[in-house]
């Protein structure tokens, strides 16, 4: 069965100048194979070296693009007309350095000499680093190694967004901060360290909690964003803002002994939402404050983020785009997953439904802290101070600690009973529904779930200790250690 194939102008030299030729086949694939056998000069222009149709070659059966039919398996029936239609594309070089890269001073040349003798970096790469502007979200576990290595490497402008104060519990992993920084704003501590390390870099501090209101404005002056956040609402916010602004997101995250890293939101590559369109239900994935984290883990993952950031700037190597790296510190193993850009992605897909920043707390099902604050006289919650008053008054209260045994070992409320959250469903029968029960964990999240569960089983007198053991130690019993 001969089918007519319409040939576009630039391919006619390969079909004896004819604008239409005939070939045989029952599918588009067979037809094109026959066509390129008869007119072999067409092959190099229709197919790439891997034998796939080139992306800018469009094949239409009648008036339908075969991408929306069955691609090369699209059947051909008699009377069909097949057309080869070019997409014409091109553009200016993107990897080319801007015309006005800053010069390096003599001091800088000396400082960066080990970079300068790498052909992949060289003078031009180092000048690109000097011209680059990178924003670190957070100066914590991941932000510390990222900012330190970017500063040491000579990234000209390093922005840091943070609003936190250095706490003793940070020092186990947040190596930007030292013991005598406890109580200082993290931004101040970070800037002192980075400038001392390399006075040639400009450290810009942004004392703010990242939000949908300020993210686009904060990101705008920067070339690359490094996500070192520890919660889902901010992670989605960073991702979406990067996609909207077209800025790469050097992503990393850590939990217990496992870390992840990738580069999201580049022009060609997938974004965080291509991988995780929706956040996990709130509470399913505990934070590092609840679940713990090995101190060196953010060092390893943060260094990968810094590595990828430097590569993006100098344009060397194969970036971690479309690849998702998973690191297991206990087994000392790296795994790599392939990621594809999802055409249906709500943010970076072909028909995005999210085109501006949304309310990410709501999206992730997280209540904002103002809603969490205990109402006075609440019948479901009790504060540390009120609990102490009632115990002192001689009220009989059953205190149930739903943390893990290793947490209970560190500190506890005297007289409390330990039933870890995961054991509650099978051990709640040990509790007496006629007792007044106070459930408690580290900060109040897990115990709120335990309280909900107990109420669902008919317990009517359940109070959740707001702020958990930490609030208890702060306000009632400072003799105990905190973690």
């Amino acid at each position: 069965m001969a089918t007519k194939i319409l040939i576009p102008t630039p391919l006619r030299p390969f079909t004896d100048k004819k604008d239409a030729v005939e070939a045989n086949g029952t599918t588009v694939g067979e037809l094109l194979a026959d066509l390129t056998t008869k007119h072999s000069g067409l092959k190099a222009h229709l197919y790439n070296q891997e034998g796939k149709l080139r992306s800018f070659v469009n094949i239409y059966v009648n008036d339908e693009d075969i991408r929306y039919l069955q691609k090369e398996q699209t059947p051909i029936t008699s009377g069909d007309t097949v057309s080869i239609i070019p997409s014409v594309a091109g553009g200016a070089p993107t990897a080319e350095a801007p015309a006005t890269l800053p010069e390096l001073t003599k001091d800088e040349i000396k400082r960066y000499s080990r970079h300068l003798i790498l052909p992949e970096v060289g003078m031009e790469g180092q000048r690109k680093l000097k011209a680059a502007k990178v924003l670190c979200i957070g100066a914590g576990g991941l932000g510390s190694p990222v900012a330190m290595y970017l500063a040491a490497a000579g990234v000209g402008t390093i922005g840091i967004v943070d609003f936190d104060v250095v706490d003793f519990s940070n020092l186990q992993r947040q190596i930007l901060h030292s013991t005598n920084d406890v109580g200082k704003p993290k931004l101040q501590s970070a800037k002192e360290k980075l400038v001392a390390m390399n006075p040639h870099v400009n450290v810009v501090t942004h004392n703010a909690a990242l939000s949908s209101e300020n993210a686009l404005e904060l990101f705008e002056p920067y070339d690359i964003i490094v996500d070192g956040t520890d919660n889902f609402p901010t992670r989605y916010l960073v991702n979406d803002a990067c996609v909207i602004l077209g800025k790469p997101n050097a992503y990393g995250s850590i939990f217990r002994f496992e870390g992840q890293a990738s580069v999201f939101a580049t022009k060609e590559g997938p974004c965080y939402r291509c991988l995780y369109p929706e956040p996990p239900p709130p509470g399913l994935v505990p934070s590092c404050a609840e679940g713990g984290v090995l101190g060196v883990l953010p060092g390893i993952i943060g260094c990968i983020q810094a590595n990828e950031t430097l590569k993006l700037i100098i344009g060397a190597g194969e970036p971690l785009i479309g690849r998702f790296l998973i690191f297991d510190a206990l087994r000392m193993k790296f795994r790599e997953l392939k990621l594809r850009k999802d055409p249906d992605c709500p943010v970076c897909g072909t028909h995005p439904t999210v085109t501006k920043l949304i309310d990410y707390e709501q999206f992730c099902g997280v209540q904002s802290s103002t809603q969490e604050a205990p109402m006075s006289g609440s019948t479901t919650e009790i504060s540390a101070v009120d609990l102490k008053k009632r115990l002192d008054r001689g009220d009989v209260l059953k205190i149930v600690d739903v943390r893990e045994p290793h947490e209970y070992e560190i500190n506890r409320i005297k007289g409390s009973t330990l039933i870890p959250l995961g054991d509650i469903p099978k051990r709640y029968v040990e509790l007496d529904p006629s007792d007044e029960i106070v459930v408690q964990c580290k900060v109040g999240g897990r115990s709120a779930k335990a309280a909900d569960f107990l109420r669902s089983k008919g317990f009517t007198k359940v109070l959740n200790l707001t702020g958990g053991i930490l609030d208890w130690i702060d306000k009632v019993d400072p003799s105990q250690p905190k973690y």
């Binding site: 102008t9 014409v88 594309a89 091109g90 072909t350």
Partner: protein, 143 residues
Amino acid sequence: MPETANVQTLRVDSTIDGEIRRHGEETYPHECCGALIGSGNRVTATVALPNTTEEGPRRRFMVRPSDYRLAEQKATELGGELLGFYHSHPDHPARPSQYDLDHAWPTFAYIIVAVANGKSAAMTVWYLKEDRSSFEEGELNGN
């Protein structure tokens, strides 16, 4: 001089030259694109086309298939043929990029006009080598 004898020449008169430059300046800082229609090696008309790239029009252009068909139709209507396409390089030299090469079609003339700070500058023409290995620069002249 056998080398120069092989150089392809594209004739573009001052009207056509002006149309391409004006289009590049109008869309600056984005890339413009359009079709070149004529016969033999003489461009007699241009068709400005929308830049439909989804990859950021400052550095990319794309002519979608429907506009390509339109350009071929227009060529037939005008009694000529589709000779190629033009596009602009905002704040970049008028030399083809690797991306241009990867997406090039044989026999077409590719005119590139550099637009620096909103003002058109150098204009060049390029042809894909038959083995797709690189572009060869042609000669533009206005006879």
